[in-house]
């Protein structure tokens, strides 16, 4: 019996190793093709972005097209906006793709970035339990909806992680003339987690959550949360590209960063972005700034 088992295991191993080889030869031929494209001097571009951009799947969708056309190797790291921008300050990124206007302007003022290039936007939305206990449906602005949630003392989940979404939320509380604090306000829950985790928590706790529309749409089926508040003017979320300043940090690939920004801003790419998500969610996840 043991012998049979041994032979069987050996066969599985042999087959598996063959399969591995086949995979390898495949990838060798494809990389052989791409190297025949024009090769820039410094191939690697390090792009630092936020989790919400990465979770939407936009960059993984655009990346292979960009790499095929230009021969660059785009390496994307995603963090909360705070950390994403910090990577630009420490010289660990060649360019940023982020969505927090005030922090971006500060980044450029300190001389770390060259120019802020806003190119696309979408809307934040407020989701919550279907029975809407705070009655935020039909509010004219997000700030008004926030005030209703605070007045009704209904649970609200905050990202609490310095992300672009968290900063937007804080700006909205300020506009509502409130400053909720998790220590004294029992209903205000500062989770310190990513968007997906916060939505899951909101679903578990029947709480209100402010989220980018893309993440919500991609998780909608698994959540007990309804879209209660859509596109008001104070919920606009603008994304920009910023090339890092080579005078502040050595070893940056400025040429590559500029090539990527140029590629992102050309008409064909903008059209791809404007159509992204339509087939999967029935609507575009990002709108182009005209």
């Amino acid at each position: 019996m043991k012998k049979v088992l041994g032979i069987f295991l050996a066969m599985v191993l042999v087959i598996a190793s063959f399969a591995g080889c086949a995979g390898k030869t495949d990838s060798v031929t494809t990389t052989g093709e791409t190297t025949s494209k024009p090769t820039p001097a410094n191939v690697v571009i390090r792009c630092s972005t936020t989790t919400s951009v990465n979770d939407s799947g936009l960059l993984p969708y655009l990346e292979p097209m960009f790499e095929k056309e230009t021969g660059y190797d785009l390496q994307v790291t995603s963090n909360g906006t705070g950390a994403a921008i910090k990577l630009g300050e420490t010289g660990d990124a060649d360019l940023l793709l982020v969505h927090a206007k005030a922090s971006e302007e500060e980044f450029i003022e300190k001389g770390f970035g060259i120019e802020r290039k806003p190119f696309m936007y979408n809307f934040f939305v407020i989701v919550g339990p279907a029975n809407d206990p705070a009655g935020i449906k039909g509010s004219a602005t997000a700030a008004e909806a926030f005030k209703k949630i605070a007045d009704a003392k209904q649970p609200f989940i905050s990202r609490g992680d310095d992300s672009g979404t968290h900063k937007k939320e804080l700006a909205l509380w300020k506009a509502a003339g409130l400053e909720p604090n998790g220590a004294s306000d029992e209903w205000y829950i500062s989770a310190g987690k990513g968007m997906g985790d916060c939505l899951t928590m909101g679903s578990e706790k029947s709480a209100y959550v402010i989220t980018d529309k893309g993440t919500y749409l991609s998780m909608k089926d698994k959540l007990n949360l309804e879209l209660l508040m859509g596109e008001s003017d104070d919920m606009k979320n603008t994304y920009s590209l910023i090339a890092c300043n080579p005078e502040k940090n050595s070893g940056l690939n400025s040429e590559g960063a500029n090539a990527f920004i140029e590629w992102m801003l050309k008409e064909e790419t903008l059209k791809l972005i404007a159509d992204y998500g339509k087939d999967k969610y029935g609507e575009a996840l990002f709108l182009i700034i005209k």
Binding site: N79, L87, S190, A191, G192, M201, E204
Partner: protein, 239 residues
């Protein structure tokens, strides 16, 4: 470019850690409080469950003992996130214990940690007890000691290594992040522990605060180990 940043962080971190400690920063002490409450509760419960079970497994031989031992050794290596996932699914609103509303509370964190630490305490206790017990039991038989007295004798004779077992459990509890992040939710002022706070502050790019928290965590671990080693008695610390 990397090294100077790290050095700069270190310098600032010591200063910031010191400032945070002496200024009685409310949030920091809240985080330490949650961490201590969670770690002590989970170690206490794990020991109450694990040490008796370990004594039985270590001192008795019975037919088919190898299977529970194998299961126990597997559970000793249970990945924290798996423990977290199991507790999450149990306590989730749609789970079997959802009506208790325990998810995202310190209690949920304790439950996950007990699941994680009890096998470790049991397994280590069993291997510690197994060494001396045959001799102890022989003596006990000769003296015709009662069962509770025998148990007391076993625990007393193994005091020093058992303190190490408890400390191992405590080390696991205080350093754990995967399970408590899943079931606790890292909620500010409520379920945020030192490890989950470090992950968050690092993600924010707030390295100084993260290192400061790490330093305080090490200091606490050192103090607790020092206190515990005085319980172990002389001569055990290889001095």
């Amino acid at each position: 470019m990397r090294l100077p940043l790290l050095l700069r962080c270190k310098m600032n971190a010591f200063k910031e850690a010191f400032n945070l400690i002496v200024s009685f920063d409310k949030e920091l002490y809240g985080i330490i409080g949650v961490t201590m409450r969670m770690s002590f509760s989970s170690v206490l419960i794990s020991c109450l469950l694990g040490i008796p079970a370990g004594v039985v497994l270590g001192s008795k031989n019975f037919k088919g003992k190898s299977l529970p031992m194998k299961i126990l050794h597997t559970l000793m290596g249970l990945p924290p996130v798996v423990a977290g996932l199991i507790v999450f699914l149990l306590l989730s609103r749609s789970g079997p214990l959802g009506s208790l509303k325990l998810l995202f509370t310190v209690r949920a964190m304790v439950i996950a940690q007990v699941l994680l630490i009890t096998p470790i305490v049991t397994g280590l206790t069993a291997s510690v007890v197994a060494v001396k017990t045959p001799a102890i039991l022989e003596t006990a038989r000769g003296l015709r000691l009662s069962k509770p007295t025998k148990l007391k004798l076993i625990l007393k004779e193994n005091k020093a290594p058992l303190v190490s077992v408890v400390l191992t459990g405590f080390g696991r509890a205080i350093s754990e992040v995967g399970a408590i992040s899943l079931v606790g939710g890292n909620i500010q002022h409520k379920t945020r522990a030192m490890t989950t706070a470090i992950v968050l502050e690092t993600g924010k790019g707030n390295f100084e605060f993260a290192i400061a928290l790490g330093l305080i965590l090490l200091i606490i671990a050192f103090v607790i180990n020092s206190i515990a080693s005085s319980f172990r008695g002389d001569g055990y610390d290889y001095t």
